[in-house]
Amino acid sequence: MPKKKNLNKVMVIGSGPIIIGQAAEFDYAGTQACRSLKEEGLKVVLVNSNPATIMTDAHIADRVYIEPLTVDFLTAIIEKERPDGLLATLGGQAGLNLAVQLAQSGALEKYKVELLGTPLEAIRKAEDRELFKETMQQIGEPIPESAIVEDVHAAVDFANEIGYPIIVRPAYTLGGTGGGIAENEEELIEIVIKGLKYSMIGQVLIERSVAGWKEIEYEVMRDGHDNCITVCNMENLDPVGVHTGDSIVVAPSQTLTDHEYQMLRTASLKIIRALGIEGGCNAQFALDPNSQRYYVIEVNPRVSRSSALASKATGYPIANVSAKIAIGYTLDEITNAVTHKTKACFEPSLDYCVVKIPRFPFDKFVYADKTLGTQMKATGEVMSIDRCFEGALLKAVRSLEIGVNRLHLEKIDAWDDDKVRRRLGRCNDDRLFVIAEAFRRGIATIDEVYEITKIDRWFLYKIKAISDFERKLSKEDLTPKTLRQAKYLGLADISIAELTGKTVDAVRSMRLQQNILPMYKMVDTCAAEFEAMTPYYYSTFRAEVDEVEVSDKRKVIVLGSGPIRIGQGVEFDYCSVHSVWALREMGIEAIIINNNPETVSTDFDISDRLYFEPLTTEDVLNIIDKEKPEGVIVQFGGQTAINLAASLAEAGVKVFGTSVDNIDRAEDRERFDEVLTETQIPRPRGVSVTNLEDAITGAAEIGYPVMVRPSYVLGGRAMEIVYNEDELKDYMGRAVKVTPDHPVLVDKYMQGTEVEVDAICDGVDVVIPGIMEHVERAGVHSGDSIAVYPPQTLPAKIVYTIIDYTKRLATTLHVKGLLNIQYVVADGKVYVIEVNPRSSRTVPFLSKVTNIQMVDVATKVALGHNLKEMGYYSGLVEPKPYVAVKAPVFSFAKMQDVDISLGPEMKSTGEVMGIDYHYARALYKAITGAGMNIPLNGCILFTVADKDKEELKQLAKAYAELGFSIVATEGTAKAIRAAGIDAEIVGKVHERSTDIIQMIKLGKIHMVINTLTQGKHIAKDGFRIRRATVEHGIACLTSLDTAWELLRVLSFMRERRLVYSLALQDYVGGGDDLA
C-alpha cells in the first residue's frame, strides 16, 4: 500500500503521440509507472491519446482513456473518475505542461486532486527561466549570462552587451522547438521571433553560448525525505551546441576526472534539492575542456529521454522508482529490482561502456536541413553496450539500419580529400563518418579534427584507431591474428569481409574455426559486486567468461524493431512485447533482441532474457548459437525483423510463422504478380523496371499519373506520384539507385478510397478483426491517412470482396500469423496495392478497439496452434457499435524546409486515436488529439490546384454555410465566386500588400486548405504558405478529403458537446464497476 494516506486512485498522464523530442521513452516510463502503482494496490487511471503504446493496453491501468490530451478532456475525466492524485512527471513535457495547466485552471483544486511527485512549485522553478536563474544564483550554481525577453529589441540589446554567439531557447517547449544559436544580429532576430511563437508563455531565454564545451548530463533521483542519488552520468560526444537528443552520448562519462565527475555530481544534487524535485530529474552541464569552469545549462524536473537511456544503460528502473517516490516511499524503502536484495538507494556502477546514437529522418526528408543544432531532429535512437567504446560505437552504428556496418558511408568515397576536410566542419548526421574517413585517408590529425569539431580527443583517438585498423586490414591477408584483433576492436564480420574482399561466410567460418566467439555479460547495476537477477545481457569480444545460464526449456527468440523512425514506430515495439507475453503465457521462454533504449521491450522484466544487441544477421546468429532456441519470430519487429528472415533461414534457423519463401512471394514484385494471377485478384497496372528507358516506356504504356517506388520499401520510402515524363526522369535520377538487383516499380496511380485490413491466418482459417477505411484517397501514404474503424462508406458488396480477397491472399501465401493488406477501391472495384506478411502499424489500434489481442493470437498461430481451437472463425469479426479513428501526427515544427503536403512518402512520426459512439466526435477527438487547431469559426484560406477546383466549389460553399469567411488566391477565388460564394482575393506570396504570409502571421487566417499544384519544387509559393501555417500553429489541410471530413465534424459539433469521455474498458467491456 502507498505510504501516503488517503490515496486510492491515481491518474497518470501519458505523453501522447510520438513526435520528434518525445518518443517511445514515455511509453516505457508510463508503463513502468502504471505497473509500479498497481503493484501498490492503487487504482490507476491512465490518459493517453496514443493507441500504439503498451501503456494504453486495458490491463496496464484500471481505466484507460484514449482521449485527446487537452485540459478540457482531462478535466472531464477527472470530474468523472475523481482520482486522489495526479502523476504527471512521467508523461514527458506534454504531461508536465498539462499538469501545470490543470493546476492553473483550478481543476486540481476543485476536484481535490493532489499533484504527486515533484510539486508544482518545483516544476515552476525548473521551467520558468527567471525563477530558475534566481534559484541557481541562490545556491551559487553558475549559469551562463542570460536574459529573458519577450520581444526582439530586448534580445538585440542584451546581445550587444555580452556579444555573440548567443543561444536562444524558448520557455516551455519540448525538444528545444524554436531554439537556435545566432552568430549575428540578423540570425538572432529570426530565431527569437520563432522562439517567441513556440513558447507557451511567449518568452525566450537568450544567453551566452558555450558551444564547444563538453556537455555532461546527470540523472538524479530525490525522495520526499531529501535522499538524493545520481543514477548515471553521461557525456555527449558532440560538444555543447548540438541538442543532447541529437548527440552521440556515452555512459558513463569517459573523459572526466574523478574530481570533475564529483564536482558536477555535487552540483546536480544541490540543484535537485534546491528545486525540491521528488522523483527523477535530469541536469545538463557545460564543462570547459580547458579549466574546471562549468555552467548549468538545463534541468528537466521530470523523467526524460535521458532517463530512459540512463535506465537502460544502468539497469536502474528510474520510472518505477519515481512512481514509488511519488506515492510517498523513500529510496531506501524501495527494493532494487535488479538484486532483489539491496535497495534503490544506491548509485549504479557500470562495468561496460554505453553508446547512444540518434536516428535521423533525413532519409525521408531529403530536402530537410541536416545541420544539427539546439533544435532536436532525431526521431529515435539506438543504444549499445560493450566492454570498450569502439565495440559499442560500432554496434550502435550497425543498429541504426542506415545501410552502414562500420564507420563508412558509401557516398563519402566519392568526395575528394578537400571536400572531406571541408565537411569536418559541418555538424550533421554524417560527421562521425566524415571524421572516420578523414582518418582513414590520413588527411587530418587528431588535433586538427579537434580544433574543427571540439570533440574530445579521447573519442577521436578511438575513431582513429578503428580507421587505422581498417586500413591495415584492407592491405593485409586475413589471418587468425588479425581477425582476432578486428573482433577485439568490434568490427562486424561483414565489415571484415568488405575490407578483406572475403565473403561474410568465409569470415564467419574462420571465426568459428578459431573459436573467436562473443561472450555475454550481464547488466546488473553494480559491476558484479552483488549477485543479480537481471536477465539483461550484452555481447563483447573482450572477455573470457560468459555469464548467461542457458536453460534447456522450450524457448523462442523474438526480434525487435530497432530504432523509432518514420514508417516504423512504437507500434512494432508494442507487437514485440505482446509476442513475448504470449510466448511466456504458453510456458515458452521468450528471448528478445533489440537495441532501442526508449522502449518497453528493452525493459529487463518483460522477457525471460533480453539481449541488447544490434539486429543484424551476425549479431542475431551469435545469440542463436548460444541459446539454441526452437526458432525465431520475425513478424512483429517490423521490416527490421522481416529483413533478417531470409539470412537466418539460410543459416538453418527455424523462422516461425509465414515461411521465408512466402514472405518473398508477397514482397517480390514478380512473384507477387504470380500470386495475384493465381488468386485472380486485380491490382493497379504496373511494371518493374531496372533502368530509365524501361521506366519511360512503361509509364507511357500505363498512362500518367503513375506511382513510382523502389521494391522492398519501408514506410513508402522514396515513393512518389509523378504526373509526366520530366518528373519521372527527375525521380529516377534523384530518389533511387536503380540496378538489376534493385528494380523500381511503376504503377498506375488510382484515385480511389484506400482500405486497410489486418488479418490473422493459420494456413486454413482467416480471421479479420477489422477493416479500416482511409479518409484520404489513395496516394497519401497509409501511415499519413486518417483511418476509420469500422468503414463508414463502403457498400456491403465491397466489404464482401475485401473479405474474400483477404482470405484468398492469406491462404495462397500460406500465412501463419499476421498479414496486412492495402486495397484501393475505385469505380466500385477492389484492387490490391500491397500485402505485408507481418504485423503492421495498425495492429495495436485494431487490437485495442476490437478487443482481440491480435499479436497474442498470431504468436500462438505461428507456433502451430490453430484459430478454431482458440475460438475464432474465418471471416470478418462483427464490427463494434462504436467508431475509432486513427489520425497521424507530424513533427513538422521541428523540421524546417520540409514540405508538409501529404503524398505517398510517409511523413508522420506518430498517431493518436479518437473513439466515440458518434463518428464525427471520434474524428473530432482524433484531430484534436493530433494537435490540429480546429477553428470553430473565422477565416479560411483556399488555394488549390486546377484539378481540384470543381470539387472545391462545393466544399467552399459548405464552409461558408457554416459561417466561415473565405479568402483565396486569385484563381481559386474565381472558381469559388463562380459558385456564388463570396471570397476575398489575397495576394500571392510575392505581392507585398496583402501577402498571404503576412496575413497568417497577423493571425487573420485560421485555417488553410491547400492542394499541391504539382511536382516537388521547394521554392513554390505553396510550400511557403504551408510552412507558415506550421510556424504559426494553424491547421493546414492538403487533401480535400480531410477538408470534407473536417466539415462533417464541424457541423456535427455545432449542436453537440465537444467533450465526452469513456474509458477503453467501457467500450470493449470490463472495468465498468469502477466508472
Binding site: 525525505h225 531529501d226 535522499n227 542519488i229 558513463p252 562519462s253 569517459q254 573523459t255 572526466l256 576526472t257 574523478d258 574530481h259 565527475y261 564529483q262 555530481r265 555535487t266 544534487l269 575542456p289 580547458n290 579549466s291 523513500t330 529510496l331 531506501d332 539491496t342 535497495k343 538507494c345 544506491f346 548509485e347 549504479p348 556502477s349 557500470l350 562495468d351 561496460y352 561502456c353 566492454r387 570498450c388 567504446f389 574530445d456 580527443r457 579521447w458 583517438y461 561472450m519 555479460k521 553494480c526 559491476a527 558484479a528 559486486e529 552483488f530 549477485e531 573482450r542 572477455a543 573470457e544 567468461v545 555469464e547
Partner: protein
Amino acid sequence: MKGKLILEDGTVFRGQIFGGSNQTATGEVVFNTGMTGYQEILTDPSYCRQIVTLTYPLIGNYGTSKIFNQSYKSFVSGLVIGELCDNGSSSSMEKSLIDYLSMERIPCLFDVDTRAVTRKIRSAGTMKGVIVSEYTSQATIDEMMKLPIKRDVVTEVTTSDAYTIGSDDKDAPFVVAVDFGVKLNILDSMQRLGCRLTVVPAYTPAEDILEMNPDGIFLSNGPGDPKDVPEVVEEIKKLIGKKPIFGICLGHQLIALALGADTYKLKFGHRGSNQPVKNLQTGRVYISSQNHGYAVDEKSLRKLPLEVTYVSVNDGTVEGLRHKKLPIFSVQYHPEASPGPDDNLYLFDEFLKMMGK
C-alpha cells in the same frame, strides 16, 4: 606481453602485462567498483600489499596528474584492469597512466576480463593472488604463492616523522592526526576548515600526543587488519576520554577495538564510490566512498558505550559509531572521498564542532 592473474585457488585470468616479465606481483586480490578515480585508488595507502582490480573496463582515459595523488607514492602491489588507455585526454593531464605506472613501477595486468575476476572474488571471497608473465615457471609461481603477505603494512605506509601543516593561526583548531596511511584529502579537508594539523607516525605513544595538547585527535585510514596493530590499540585506549577523537576507516576500527568491540574480515569487502550508508538517527541515506576489508562486529557492541550511527544499506554492516558519553565518533567510510562523492564532508564539520570550534 602475455600475462596472467592466478588466484590462490588456482583460478587463472589472462591478460597482458605492461612492462616486462619481471613485472610480477603478489597480494590480496580485491576489486573496486568506482568508475573514475583510478589514480586516487592507486595512491590510497589503504591498498598496500593488495592487487587491485578495477571493475570499470576503460582505465587511463584522462591520464594522471599530481593533484590527484592521495599519498607521495603508490602502495598497491599490482593493478588488474580491462583496457589500458595509452592516450589520455584531459586539460589536467601531466602524464599518461602508462607513464605513471612505469614511473611508480606498478605491475599492471590489462586486457583482463575484470568482471569475471570480480564475480570470482564476490563468490569465493578475497584471496591471495599473483600477477605473472605467461612464461613464469610453475615453480616460481608456487614459491610466490607460498610466501605469506607481510602483515606489517601500517609500518610501511605511515610517516616516519611528525610534521605540521595548515593554519598558522594560534586560535585555529589544532588536530593531531595519527597516520596509519592517511589519504591526503583527509588532511586537506581539515585544512580547508581552517585546522592546524600535526601528523604523527602510527606508533606515536599516547603521552606524546596528549602532550601536544590538541583540540582533537584524528585516527586515519590505513591498510590491513586492525588486529595486526595491537600496540596501537593500547595507545588509543589511553587517549579515550582525554580529547575528542574522530576516526576514519582503520581509525574507526581501532577505536572500536580500543573500546572493547570486535572486528572481523568481510567476505570481499566494500570498495567503491557508490556505497550507500544510512544515518540511523535521521533515516537519511548518503552515498559514500569506501575501501575496507574488515568491519566492526555489531554483536560485539552490546553493553559497550558505543552506538551505531550509520549502517551500510547494502548489507547492514556497521559504518559509523559514536560514543554514548564521550566526544568520540568514527566512520568506516571515507568522507574525504577522492575518489568518490563528497556527500559526507559534513563529518569534518561535526568533528570541528565536537572540538568546540
